[in-house]
Symmetry: C2
Subunit: 327 residues, 2 copies
DNA sequence: ATGAAAGCGCTAACAA
DNA sequence: TTGTTAGCGCTTTCAT
């Protein structure tokens, strides 16, 4: 496999000239340019990217951490990838399984300069630790993070939950339960706050067994309905973060003889492809756009980084209630 | 940010010694090793991966091409990633949208040495073009490819389709239709062959309108049912490649008043998480294992590549009929 | 056990 | 417009 030196001697010019032809530099005579190009084509030469990365100090690649292959993260990911490829960036994907060690490994790539920046679609690591890698390149989280040294692009989960609750109360519901993913996350705390605030406003008491945690997959939805069927007093409506869970709920509710929305009204989240088939009323968080904005945030921080001190970009992406037939 | 030279002078040793400490080389006195390690820790030094890649001629990263974020590819991907991370490899993901240009760009990474090998979860490019990049590193396709210079790990789609058809005929069905993804793919041709061969055996004529092509998403399933409802003579059973499509079919069939399996029996493919909730009888192709074996194939070719002439590994991964309640 | 020095393949400052 | 040359940061002979 030929290198730039081979091309240079074969074309009878210096490596500089070859380098100039490669980068479209203007100061090359047409004659030499043609000759060099001819040798390059004939030899099937391509520059070694690692040498370029080494000398340029960047790789034009951004790392992305996803905890799982859940559709939620996929939607974000697709936004990141769209935007990245448009900007001429590659995407190095890391699946963390919510494991801190894996997240640290991805941060390590930043230190070792294999990636120019890192986007967390979800994080398990404490913000402080993440921030300590900020000196190696821009870091973006798709979840609100206080620290101003990193960027974050996020949904206002509190407001979104209020919107969902209000939609349900507007339809006459007061016996409302909800399902969330990981219990300890920041977003879950926000949702709890929103939930209780609406309940307070309504003057109805909170029923702890109507709060279902650790629901992320379709089978969790099934489990939830099974649980509900055993209750003496059942909720008449459910707010469900994640339409895959909502799908499980709807399907299982129907086979248990519950009518949607008469016996059980559902507001989902995410607006996945399956939501339409299920006629699911859902809150679309524009996940793809969150992904796009995340990449943009990385990109803008890169530009700045050189001149000023890096200061994170914070951006809240608006959500939207999509009304269908489950409420 | 310190480099190896800085560490060396700070520790009062040569760069060689630092390099030896870094790689755990035995010939370093305990005293110097300790001193060097101390400086490394104190400086927070990490080797620049690009320099290492350049001199070693490899990146310990494998590229993966997925056309879309469809669950099917996700399942394969998760297998690849598991195996890769176990072997200390990173994964550079490329989303091709079935676009040849994108696939070529991924192949380009192989030429430029940014990745050590490439796995196609799906390909649009002609095999010949893909093979022409074989000299730059091992290439694996998750789909049977004749050429022996590349590896492939695949499902025997013909046999799987026969299995599905036989399961349906064993339950008394003769009016069977089927749905596949892209019409022009090799797998679709194999399935067509399997379909017609079973039909021939049965002595029933082929009804072209019972073959539904370009079905990949849930909404395609809805479309298919809508179409079926307009037919004078309807199929009593459907073989559907892709459980997301099957989900659309089941949901829409039910809302059209069709009972599953009495009025319409379904055999799906893939056994996705949603399949269980839908009580869908499906053919599990062990997609995750296909991913794992694909990485293994890459890995073994790498080892060989140095010694012998590269010769692809061909591996058929067994499938399995999972019986539930849709037939 | 240790280090000097020769690259890996490329870019860019500088000189001509 | 072109070429010489000095690195980018690291590994690895080859001496000692």
């Amino acid at each position: 496999m030929a290198n730039i030196k081979d091309i240079a001697s074969l074309a009878g010019v210096s490596v500089t000239t070859v380098s100039r032809v490669l980068s479209g530099h203007p100061y090359v005579s047409d004659e030499k340019r043609r000759k060099v190009q001819q040798v390059i084509d004939q030899q099937g030469y391509t520059p070694n990217a690692n040498a370029v990365h080494l000398i340029k100090g960047q790789t034009k690649t951004v790392g992305v951490i996803v905890p799982s292959s859940h559709s939620y993260f996929h939607a974000i990911l697709s936004g990141i990838m769209d935007e990245a490829s448009e900007a001429g960036y590659g995407t190095l994907l890391y699946q963390s399984r919510y494991d801190r060690k894996e997240e640290e490994q991805a941060l390590h790539l930043l230190r070792t300069k294999q990636i120019d920046g890192l986007i967390f679609c979800s994080r398990s690591l404490p913000v402080d630790e993440i921030v300590s890698y900020g000196m190696y390149g821009p870091i973006v989280t798709c979840e609100h993070a206080e620290d101003e040294r990193i960027s974050s692009v996020y949904t206002d989960h509190h407001a979104a939950f209020i919107t969902g609750m209000k939609h349900l109360t507007a339809h006459g519901h007061t016996d409302i339960g909800y399902c969330v993913g990981r219990a300890e996350s920041r977003s879950s705390r926000q949702r709890y706050k929103a939930y209780t605030s609406v309940l307070d406003e309504l003057g109805v008491p909170l029923i702890p067994e109507w709060i279902f945690e650790n629901s992320t997959e379709t089978k969790d939805g099934i489990r939830i309905v099974d649980k509900i069927m055993t209750m003496k007093k059942r909720p008449t409506a459910l707010l469900i973060t994640g339409d895959e869970v909502a799908a499980g709920v709807i399907l299982q509710a129907q086979s248990a003889g519950l009518r949607i929305p008469e016996d059980l009204a559902i507001v989902g989240f995410d607006n996945l492809p399956i939501s339409e088939a299920l006629k699911l009323t859902t809150i679309d968080q524009h996940l793809k756009r969150i992904g796009q904005e995340s990449f943009r945030a990385f990109y803008e921080m890169r530009d700045k980084g050189m001149k000023e001190k890096p200061k994170g970009i914070k951006k809240s992406v608006p959500f939207e209630l999509v009304e269908r037939a489950s409420v």
